[in-house]
């Protein structure tokens, strides 16, 4: 059972991120792509070319929205103007689910435009889950929260990141966008076993998976999205798919973007792993999934 309530019972396959350098190719060549993920903020505008492009894409393709600025973990309340714009866009795209990050990035109305890690405490989990519920109730579509890559840990944390993620999604009753590249990057930066992470999250809540490339530096790894997916990440992805089942998968490539075909071919490598696990997911066997 690949579909679940958190991806609105859809059965999407392998998608890629919609990026400006590929617009012309997509609109002229109309390549066969299962779905595109758009960055919501790029289209939360009042008019002009961005919406014209989006409408042309929507005529041909399925689109899922992915946000970068909801900041579920910020102490600030959700911005109503932001929510209204986002809801307008969801009506336009008919996105079956919406994802954003488990992070914070603004305080007192000032924005860092970054995905900052959170202190993993029970109180923060409660606050974050309440915000996710509020946003979901306003938007009236399922929400999946994505684990971010991180470079710091905080003294105040009371649990591991995957325990925190599980705590939040259970309290919010929302889905997970499991980014296996981010898990790998953080595991190297914080010296934990990435397989413990993949094993430790509630698999029946995983509505989507992200894969991407990263860059190794001498003392840390940076989540750069400017390379093909590296072998250790493919191995982690294989494990994740075995545990979660056939899950909508998206390749992120945001910098030094090569040709459309190169990006798409890299994403399609996931077919090998998705094909092996079709219909045999741990999620499908989970009692919660049966109940849902």
């Amino acid at each position: 059972m690949p579909a679940n309530p958190f991806n609105n019972h859809t059965e999407y396959g392998i998608g890629i991120g919609l990026r400006v350098p590929h617009y012309r190719h997509i609109l002229e060549k109309k390549p066969v792509v299962d779905w595109f993920e758009i960055i919501s903020e790029n289209f939360m505008v009042d008019g002009g070319r961005p919406l014209e492009i989006l409408d042309k894409i929507l005529e041909q393709y399925r689109v899922v929205q992915h946000g970068v600025s909801m900041y579920f973990g910020s102490a600030d309340k959700p911005d109503r103007e932001h929510l209204k714009r986002l809801k307008t866009l969801t009506r336009r795209t008919q996105t079956p689910w919406l994802s954003d990050h488990l992070c914070w990035g603004s305080v007192d109305g000032r924005y860092t435009h970054d995905l900052l890690p959170m202190p993993y405490t029970f109180a923060v989990a409660r606050h974050t889950a309440a915000k996710i519920r509020e946003v979901r109730d306003f938007l009236e579509i399922p929400i999946c929260v994505e684990n971010v890559s991180s470079y710091t840990e905080f003294h105040q944390s009371e649990m591991t990141e995957w325990e925190f993620l599980s705590e939040v999604v259970e309290k919010a009753d929302c889905g997970i966008l499991l980014d296996v590249n981010n898990i790998y990057v953080s595991s190297k930066n914080h010296s934990f076993d990435p397989y413990d992470y993949v094993t430790g999250v509630p698999h029946h809540r995983v509505g989507q998976v992200h894969i991407a490339g990263h860059t190794k530096y001498k003392k840390y790894i940076l989540d750069t999205h400017d390379h093909p997916v590296l072998d250790p990440v493919w191995k982690l992805y294989e494990r994740a798919i075995r545990l979660c089942g056939h899950t909508a998968t998206l390749l992120e490539w945001d910098d030094r973007i090569p040709t459309f075909d190169e990006v798409h071919n890299e994403a399609l490598k996931a077919t090998k792993f998705l094909g092996e696990t079709s219909g045999k997911s741990a999620a499908a066997r989970a009692p919660e999934a049966v109940a849902a």
């Binding site: 009042d46 305080v107 435009h113 710091t152 003294h155």
Partner: protein, 321 residues
Amino acid sequence: MAKRPVKAPRRARPKLSPPRIGSVRELRQFQRVMAEALFRPLTAGDGLQPTWSDGRTTRSVVEEFVKPNDRLTAMERVEIYARSYWFRVLDCLYDDYPGVHSIIGVKCFMKLTTAFLAECPSESFTLRNLGSRLPQFITDNPAFTAPRTALAVDMAWFEWAQVVAFDGMALPPITEDEILDAGPALKVALQPYLGIMQCSYPVDEFALALKKRDSALRGESSNAVSALKGKRAGARPRLPRREAICVAVHRQQNMLFFKRLEPEVYAILTALRAGRTLSAACVAALRNANPAIDWAARVREWFQAWQSLGWLCRRPARGRS
């Protein structure tokens, strides 16, 4: 172009990160401290400033909430985020204001934008709005752009107008029937995406020269490197001489265009944007105009042109308060 005060409200600087985070209040306090670490400009070596705003060492402040690991100190871990923040926002302004950095040079532009962001951090969820207050900041802080402040101010407003024209709201254009029905008492609005400006320099020509240079660079970069030797394709166009102009920044079929306006046209459009009727706008704009000219005929021509460009729309209904 509407101008507003640029000063961000002063906020109390956070002092300490709480030792535990068991409430939203404590979460906010933690986030204020972390944000303060990011928002403070980097040192020349792209690191965190060594001294915190209250005189303590930044190291001691950061070590209160960030763990070191076996490869990085707490300071080094936060510096990864601080560099990411500053490189991202400075890059964004560099992309949005190519004319301004061509006028004052990259080094001065970095000083200007660093000071701007330290004073006016982003207050919007989208980077699209990051530079909205830069034109007014340049006006209020002329030292960063001296001796080319007047040109830099004109260019900054002109470049912000392009951001608005690119993806600003378009309302349904007014129809000919609506115009005929209303007569001279017609109240129209200008499209929200349309920018109309009065400048002391021909910034439109300078912007086009910059675009031409950049496209020449892009074209040549695809040829053999040897072919570039001895050419000056990368030279900045000559800075414009002072010349009063009026110009519109607009879009047609979602492509950006600049259009020079006669002073009388600028005056009428400005009056329409301020809410006057067409007849009142014309009377105000043409009060001291040359009586030998058939202004009625000219206004008809202008009006037809604005209509064909889709610049005129029905005034949005005001909501009840």
